[in-house]
Amino acid sequence: MRIVCRCNDVTVEDIEKLIDEGVTDLEELRRLLRIGMGPCQGRTCIPIVISILARKTGKRPEDIALPNARFPVRPVKIEALVGGEK
């Protein structure tokens, strides 16, 4: 078992299985496996997923659009944002 997404425990096998079932859109793969939705926002896993997708579909990695990075770029403690308010 090789983990690709450490935040959400997703393996290479999980990803390859879905691609084999015909899910070849990165947006769709992300949602079904929650890759890129963990605390690191995909910094670790998205590049690997793109290379798996490219290898399995014959696309060039640079032709696969990166998902949006979302605010906050790194996890922020809620206390820091509500600061002082009661």
């Binding site: 605010f71 906050p72 206390e79 944002l81 509500v82």
Partner: protein, 377 residues
């Protein structure tokens, strides 16, 4: 052949229901399926409404939700973890009692409980700020991602076709409807407009801009995953700016929402910093311990609001149907609405308790509004 415009939960579920009735269906989606509001929603499902039409529709919809994983042969992660509405004043307690009576009348088992009982259901709740709660254990949540995918796969098996990255640019009436898209022209007998926040563009193409939908940007903030079983129901004190918290049924992160909204184009999904501050202010009042967790994501989508916050469902021109303007509760309604609409199109009638009169698309033209549907998640 039936052409559905819009690949959100309404369009995709309707495609499945139509295919189930033996129809040839084709769906046009300008981006990827779910890319509109559907993948941005809070996943909540409830029958706690304040009028007969919505209560009956949602009671039926919840029954359908319960069957979907098996019927579609894919786990959509539907869980009946309940909705807990919290009252902060005596007047609100009285209003809750009236709503509960109405819900009970139509078989929804909501009951009034004490703050202590609420705390047993949501252990980290700040119970001191509330006088009572309305609790329906049959309300719940499901995965928007898996639900949409499950409907799509099941529809494809029955022959439905999905054209993603295909934008509808024009519609003309000849002997049949001619739908022009960025990927060619298609002729269909029946059109279904399921583009919700974008729906006026499509209705205008046939000169029938009769449903005054306005898109409002709504946002959510999500925390890192927490241990399951803490904030499982959707918890909402309506008086606190319609703010709510609910643990994601899949990864356990807490989704936080509030009513701060912006009237914008439905293509504008940029999150705003003032939203994060506003929503978290209320979230930590509901669950003080949230102070100590991290938020990891924020995103935006749209409520497609009509003047009375009820959708418009029906036929607005011969063989041209709409199911639009869901005003923030289209995900939960999709199983019931899709079935009702498909049966109406194919058989002319349906057993789904959908009050066509109530959701009549022409009511706005007549200046006849319904009582406002209760709007939270």
């Amino acid at each position: 052949m039936i052409g559905i415009i819009g690949g959100g939960i309404i369009g995709v579920a309707t495609a499945y229901e139509l295919a189930k009735l033996g129809e040839d269906v084709i769906v046009f989606e300008k981006r990827y399926l779910g890319s509109g509001s559907t993948f941005r929603c809070a996943s909540g499902i409830r029958a706690q409404f304040t009028d007969e039409a919505n209560i009956k529709l949602m009671k039926y919809s919840i029954e359908r939700w319960g069957q979907l994983s098996e019927e579609l042969n894919h786990d959509i992660m539907f869980q009946q973890t309940g909705y807990l509405f919290l009252a902060t004043s005596e007047e609100e307690v009285e209003a809750f009692k009236r709503n509960i009576k109405l819900q009970n009348k139509f078989g929804v088992p909501t009951k009034l409980i004490t703050p202590e009982e609420a705390k047993e259901i949501v252990p980290p709740l700040n119970k001191d700020a509330f006088l009572a709660a309305a609790w329906n254990p049959e309300d719940g949540k499901a995965s928007p991602f898996h639900t949409l995918y499950a409907y799509k796969k099941a529809a494809e098996k029955l022959g439905a076709r999905f054209h993603e990255y295909t934008k509808v640019t024009m519609i003309e009436k000849e002997d049949k409807w001619k739908i022009k898209t960025t990927r060619g022209e298609f002729k269909v007998d029946v059109v279904v407009n399921a583009t919700n926040a974008w729906a006026r563009e499509i209705n205008s193409m046939i000169g029938k801009d009769i449903i005054p939908i306005k898109p409002y940007k709504h946002q959510l903030v999500k925390t890192e995953p927490l241990e399951r079983g803490q904030i499982e129901p959707l918890v909402c004190p309506p008086a606190w700016n319609d703010s709510y918290v609910i643990q994601d049924g899949e990864d356990g992160g807490v989704i936080c929402g509030t009513a701060l909204e912006y009237e914008t184009s439905p293509d504008d999904v940029t999150p705003t910093y003032d939203f994060a501050k506003e929503v978290l202010k209320w979230a930590v009042k509901i669950i003080p311990a949230l102070k100590h967790v991290h938020i990891v994501r924020q995103w935006a989508g749209h409520y497609a609001r009509t003047p009375d916050n009820n959708p418009a469902i029906g036929e607005i021109e011969d063989n041209f149907y709409v199911a639009i303007g869901f005003s923030g509760h289209g995900f939960m309604m999709a199983p019931a609405v899709a079935q009702a609409l498909a049966e109406r199109i194919v058989k002319g009638r349906t057993k789904v308790p959908l009050d066509w009169e109530w959701f009549d698309p022409f009511r706005f033209e007549r200046g006849e509004l319904r009582s406002s549907a209760f709007q939270i998640g």
